[in-house]
């Protein structure tokens, strides 16, 4: 399979402390990867580096063969941890915003996602509940035809029905030409839509592998393997 993201010996320091240390990771086309780790393990920093928002100190990262920058930004769709849509916007404005901003934005696909998420264009951002806002942000992110989708904590502060809906949307709407990276600590709920996992612990990759292979070898769920890793 074709490699989309290639990370080699990547390190990142904040002040003098290593946030990421000697990260090596390859992500292939058509694969959903879970980036799992405790709070402060470096998951979000890794996502920011892949998106091009942050720069690594040492090591190499390539997205479809190119270093993160202007050219890769147009290939990477990033669902950030925090909302960046303005309060004054209506959903219609938010869609327009994405349409102007991203060439790969597919209004039709986004419309389908919005229907699935039970959102209407007439809603105002300010009046959306947390779950609705997250559903909207996910519709906008997955509404792009990117080659990499980065979903940072997509289930933060969200009730179980919305969570199931979001999981379904991720699984049904990502296209096989792209790859998805999801950070989360709600592993039990998402593990069945993950093909691969990378466990991150204190800035380093503690374990990577194929989910089904890991279940087979250890006779355990991904969630249990994660737990045992941190005991």
């Amino acid at each position: 399979m074709q490699t989309v993201i290639k990370i080699k010996d990547l390190c990142k320091k904040y002040n003098k402390r290593y946030v990421l240390k000697d990260i090596n990771l390859e992500v292939e086309k058509g694969v959903i990867t879970g980036v799992l780790g405790q709070n402060g393990s470096g998951k979000s920093t890794l996502m920011k580096i892949i998106s091009g928002i942050e720069k690594p100190d040492t090591g190499e990262i390539l997205i479809n063969g190119a270093k993160p920058g202007v050219s890769t930004k147009s290939q990477v769709a990033f669902l950030t941890e925090n909302n960046h849509l303005y309060d004054w916007m209506g959903i219609k404005d938010a869609i327009k915003f994405y349409q102007d901003f991203y060439e790969d934005f597919d209004a039709k696909k986004c419309g389908k996602l919005m229907d699935f998420m039970e959102l209407s264009e007439d809603f105002k951002i300010k009046k959306l509940s947390k779950g609705m806002l997250q559903r909207l942000r996910l519709s906008l992110t997955l509404g792009r035809n990117a080659s990499v989708y980065l979903l940072d904590e997509p289930f933060m502060g969200i009730d179980t029905t919305t969570r199931d809906k979001i999981i379904k949307a991720i699984n049904s709407y990502y296209c096989e030409d792209s790859c998805v990276l999801i950070t989360t600590h709600l592993i039990g709920e998402v593990e069945r839509i993950l093909d691969k996992v990378a466990f991150i612990s204190e800035g380093s990759i503690a374990l990577t592998g194929d989910c089904e292979q890991l279940r087979f070898e250890k006779n355990q769920s991904i969630e249990d393997i994660f737990r045992n890793l941190y005991v």
Binding site: G30, I32, N171, S172, E176, R192, L194, D195, E212, R215
Partner: protein
Amino acid sequence: MDLKFDNNTPIYIQIMNWIKEQIVSNKFLAGSRLPSVRDMSEQFNVTSNTIQRVLRELEIEGIIYTQRGIGVFITEDMDKITNLRLNMSKQLVEKFIGSMRLLGFSNDEIIDVVIRITKAGLTDADSNKDKGSM
């Protein structure tokens, strides 16, 4: 398709077993077409890679076959299906016997219990039917 997954065992094996059950119990008929990868992936809410693995393994076991560009079909080889049925029952019975031995039952006792309970089950069902018709 209602299937509760146990995250402790590979999901593709659980889906494989589920499909085998459908075939053995005649819910999926010999020679009929399986839903598409996309459909199954949505219905089971697992990735298409998992479904592809299911199909690959079932094909190796000769339970399904692919017709390029048309779809995936359940084997028409009735011997294969009979074998599958026997194998699945064997697995269940072996597991059951294993548990019974752990409880200290001998082979004769196990057979005795099975006969008694299946007969009791039948008479229960019969008496229920009688009640129903009255």
